[in-house]
């Protein structure tokens, strides 16, 4: 039995198979409409989530399965003090697979040690968010046609953004990927990722502060939200927040085939006028999130549709 704890749990070959399956689901949704008939997904969300929870639940429903669970710790037995290991033992009796989001880092790993059903880590604190990374990889591969030979701009909060860290870990496994890291000094990518991941894998990267300086060279721009609570004073935040608003004018500097992704939610870092630009792919990215989670559920349940 397999679980998904980290995006690196899958080899490059296994990821290819997963994404092939996701693309087949995209092309032939009817073929998979009853693949999970009679199966149940337990959706264990100990903290609020919109996209991730609905995406997992939509994925299971699209496959013909059903969903049970809770959407906050207050409405679960965690409020009474039940441990993760006890909860998952109980849930294993009710469902065939589970997706868990938990504010404590490593909680899904504790769950998978005691579970008799596959566990999907749907986000554990600031640690991992593997299904977002799978979503990002599928979106890039589907829209660009490949995951190697790309110059990728990562913009915003590179210090605390777990989606950026996971994406870097996943993408360094592909050939000729170059990163341009766009962030204010205060939110630079942590040195342990620069040294232990980028430099160790001999990945070409550069760091810039101005988004405008990077845009002309990018195949892909991955925007993230600059979070107010990370700044020591309001002035710095306001300066940086405005610095990274991607608008129509800045998009004029970007190549015609560059695409813009964002893990969402966005606040003001992408101006709504950019939504009309054909290079804005962040809502398609949401749709790919459902396809990849459908493929993941089938893979972890070992269900094959010929």
């Amino acid at each position: 039995m397999r679980h998904l704890m980290s995006p690196l749990d899958f080899s490059v070959e296994e990821l290819d198979q997963l994404m092939d399956l996701a693309n087949d689901i995209e092309a032939h949704p009817d073929k998979y409409a009853h693949a999970c008939d009679g199966k149940k997904l337990a959706s264990l969300f100990y903290e609020p989530s919109t996209r991730t929870r609905l995406s997992h639940e939509a994925a299971m429903i699209n496959l013909g399965g059903s969903v049970l669970g809770f959407s906050s710790a207050d409405s679960s037995s965690a409020a009474k003090g039940e441990s993760v290991s006890d909860t998952i033992r109980m849930v294993s009796c009710y469902a065939d697979i589970c997706a868990m989001r938990h504010p404590k880092e490593g909680a899904p790993m504790v769950a998978c040690k005691h579970s008799t059903i596959p566990v999907i880590n749907a986000g554990d604190g600031g640690h991992q968010h593997p299904t977002q990374t799978l979503t990002d990889l599928l979106t890039i591969r589907s829209l660009k046609g490949h995951l190697g030979n790309l110059t990728i701009g990562l913009c915003g909060d590179l210090k605390f953004g777990r989606t950026v860290h996971s994406l870097i870990h996943a993408l360094v496994r592909y050939e000729n990927v170059k990163f341009i890291l766009i962030s204010p000094e205060e939110l630079r990518l942590p040195s342990y990722i620069r040294q232990d991941v980028l430099e160790r894998n001999k990945v070409d990267y550069s760091e810039v502060v101005r988004l405008e300086d990077a845009l002309p060279d990018l195949d892909l721009l991955y925007m993230t939200r600059v979070q107010k609570e990370r700044f020591f004073n309001e002035d710095d935040y306001v300066r940086m927040k405005d610095f990274y608003i991607l608008d129509k004018k800045k998009m004029e500097l970007a190549p015609k085939d560059m695409m813009v992704l964002h893990p969402l939610p966005r606040v003001n870092e992408i101006s709504v006028e950019v939504d009309q630009d054909p290079r804005a792919k962040y809502f398609e990215q949401v749709q790919y999130g459902v396809y990849v989670r459908m493929a993941l559920i089938l893979t972890l349940l070992d269900i094959h549709i010929s």
């Binding site: 441990s83 490593g106 604190g125 232990d196």
Partner: protein, 146 residues
């Protein structure tokens, strides 16, 4: 024999741990789970040492496969481990950093599941042997002794 000299007899089978940093022997006693073993243990604290000034020494009399000494590599890899059989030193064990450490150090990350889940082992994994970096198995936070 000099009068008033502390004398600890030789052991027939087991270990002599020498060059332990003075004062560390009780910690080692605990981490090797010697309190759970029915064997003869001698702890000499603050013994005179030309090399170290003061040192601790431990003698553990037991079959040599009874004690897992790997954790010593994490606690202090300068400890000399003499393996005794038939009252003689038959070999010296070279200490390496263990790949995994269980319930020796605790994760200090307040966001880690180990901070709330009862009965959960605190497990650290060696992720970089060269830099001697251990990370929590659950949250991957780097262990820092201070």
């Amino acid at each position: 024999m000099v009068k008033n000299t502390l004398n600890v007899g030789s052991i027939s089978e087991g270990f002599v741990l020498d060059h332990i940093q003075a004062g560390k022997s009780m910690e080692i006693y605990k981490h090797l789970n010697l309190d759970k073993l029915d064997c003869c243990v001698a702890i000499i604290k603050n013994a005179r040492s030309n090399k170290m000034g003061k040192k601790d020494i431990m003698k553990i009399e037991c079959p040599i496969d009874f004690v897992d000494l790997d954790i010593l590599g994490f606690i202090d890899h300068n400890i000399t481990v003499n393996i005794i059989q038939d009252e003689k030193i038959v070999s010296k064990k070279e200490l390496h950093l263990p790949n995994e450490i269980t319930n020796v150090i605790k994760c200090k990350n307040p966001r880690c599941i180990t901070s709330i889940e009862q009965g959960l082992d605190h497990i650290f994994v060696l992720t970089d042997e060269e830099k001697q970096i251990y990370r929590c198995k659950y949250c991957e936070e780097k262990y820092q002794s201070k």
